[in-house]
């Protein structure tokens, strides 16, 4: 599947690179959905939907932050839907870059496509995000994903979001700390109902050859200070996108995450992406995730009845999954 996808991507990319300049002009006039969608977010701090008073950060007996439940209470993290991470890039001060704020203001003034939803609205492609340290190929792939409105999003195939996108896919999650086992477990309702294990035992990363590339990568964590959990991640495969908008990455990607809980109701997430295969320098993104008091994780099995797969056709009108019709035949009944 990956091979055929990649072939489709590559061939289509060539077409897009050819025609992208004219299209980008048009799309820029329409305004970026990401820009408009990120309206009103105010700096790197995302919107918290909590009502009621803000209460102090809960802590474990050793003084480090408790990222989970207080004994006797229920609750989960209500992960927000962030479709375009480029609009969450922050500077050294932790605030959204001034040029992003300007782009948002411009989009608002132009009434630019604030239609939400897994997409919609104008999408300006790589040229509308000059603060992203593009390489020519990553810009071209992003332009392609922008132009076809994320049609080939791996998450649409029920594959894991992977990397920072785990914290930008709008299903609930929980963080379970087990200091006695020197590990932290993160469990996710959606985005394929998966878990992460963060090794807190001070281990070193396995050598490149021993690291099997995976969707979520290999995660080693430590307390940078009693308030900040620092998690280093390597060993990602190339089957995921950084976000719904389709920023690509390679298996050279390394992600450093900083997790803080400034108060009981807020998880602050920061991720620095270093991917010399796709971007010429590292960049950092950040947002807030609100606590949902009393929440629990229900089961969610994405693969159950994913009709999108059966409806999906490549750029030449051929089905990507399932049987291909022979020349002169129509697609088998029931696949549409």
């Amino acid at each position: 599947m990956t091979t055929s996808l990649r072939t489709a991507l590559l061939s289509a990319t060539a077409v897009v690179v050819f025609s992208s300049s004219a299209w980008v002009l048009g799309a820029q006039q329409a305004g970026g959905e990401g820009a408009a969608a990120a309206q009103g977010q105010g700096g790197g701090r995302g919107r918290g939907r909590q009502s009621g008073p803000v209460t102090p950060t809960p802590r474990l007996p050793d003084g480090t932050v408790n990222f989970g439940r207080v004994p006797g209470e229920k609750g989960v993290w209500a992960v927000p839907y962030i479709t375009n991470m480029a609009m969450r890039v922050v500077g050294k001060d932790g605030q959204v870059l001034p040029e992003i704020q300007q782009a948002q203001t411009a989009a608002r003034a132009g009434g630019g496509g604030a239609r939400g939803g897994g997409g919609g609205g104008g999408r300006g492609g790589s040229k509308s995000e000059p603060w992203i340290p593009w390489m020519p190929w990553s810009a071209a792939v992003y332009d392609y994903n922008s132009k076809n409105e994320s049609k080939y999003d791996p998450e649409g195939y029920c594959l894991p979001p992977g990397g920072p996108r785990m914290m930008a896919t709008p299903y609930q999650m929980e963080i379970i700390q087990q200091p006695e086992h020197k590990r932290i477990i993160m469990i996710f309702e959606g985005a394929t109902h998966i878990w992460r294990e963060i090794y807190m035992d001070g281990r070193k990363f396995p050598g490149d050859d021993e690291l099997n590339p995976t969707y979520l990568g290999y995660s080693v964590g430590r307390w940078e200070n009693p308030d900040t959990l620092l998690v280093e991640n390597k060993g990602f495969n190339e089957n995921s996108w950084l976000d719904y908008f389709g920023h690509p990455h390679t298996d050279k990607m390394e992600v450093v995450e900083r997790w803080t809980r400034p108060n009981k109701q807020t998880l602050h997430y920061e991720a620095t992406v270093t991917d010399p295969g796709a971007y010429s320098r590292p960049f950092t993104m950040a947002w807030d995730i609100p606590w949902r008091d009393g929440g629990e994780l229900p089961e969610y099995i994405c693969q159950e009845n994913n009709r999108y797969l059966n409806r999906l056709e490549d750029d030449l009108g051929q089905p990507i999954f399932g049987p291909r019709p022979q020349p002169g035949q129509k697609r088998p009944a029931g696949t549409r």
Binding site: G116, G117, C158, R311
Partner: protein, 132 residues
């Protein structure tokens, strides 16, 4: 026209206030937010399944009398339950009014935003939700 516009705005406000938005695949790759529809029909089947609940309605063309079976996509069962649904909320035989966006490919397929049933409007936890 003005009424229609008001309905759309009301729908958007409803969406914006909804607590949980479930995203799965690309909404805009399949559906056209600029092609809203409002259809009334009789439910023929409900698929209460992940990642999207589907239901099917028979819609009769008033002029020709021709009946077309439409497929309607909603959010996941979890998303729908958070929006007040249960698996028994909708059954075959129910008459419903559905609002949403049409499929781009012209097939009788829609992304449902809301469903009016027994005088009550239910949010469909669809992937055309609000984003950040």
């Amino acid at each position: 026209m003005r009424t229609k516009f008001a309905v759309v705005i009301a729908g958007l406000v409803l969406l914006a206030s909804a607590r949980t938005i479930v995203a799965h695949h690309s909404f805009s790759a399949e559906f056209d937010a600029n092609k809203p529809f409002k259809l009334t029909g009789t439910v023929t089947k409900v698929e209460w399944m992940n990642p999207h609940t589907f239901f099917y309605i028979d819609v009769k063309d008033e002029k020709t009398g021709k009946v077309t079976n439409w497929a309607m996509e909603m959010g996941s069962p979890n998303g729908l339950m958070r929006a007040g649904w249960t698996r028994n909320t909708m059954k075959a035989g129910d008459v419903v009014e559905v609002e949403g966006s049409l499929a781009k490919d012209g097939s009788p397929t829609g992304n449902a935003r809301s469903v009016m049933m027994n005088g009550k409007r239910l949010f469909a936890a669809s992937s055309q939700g609000n984003t950040q």
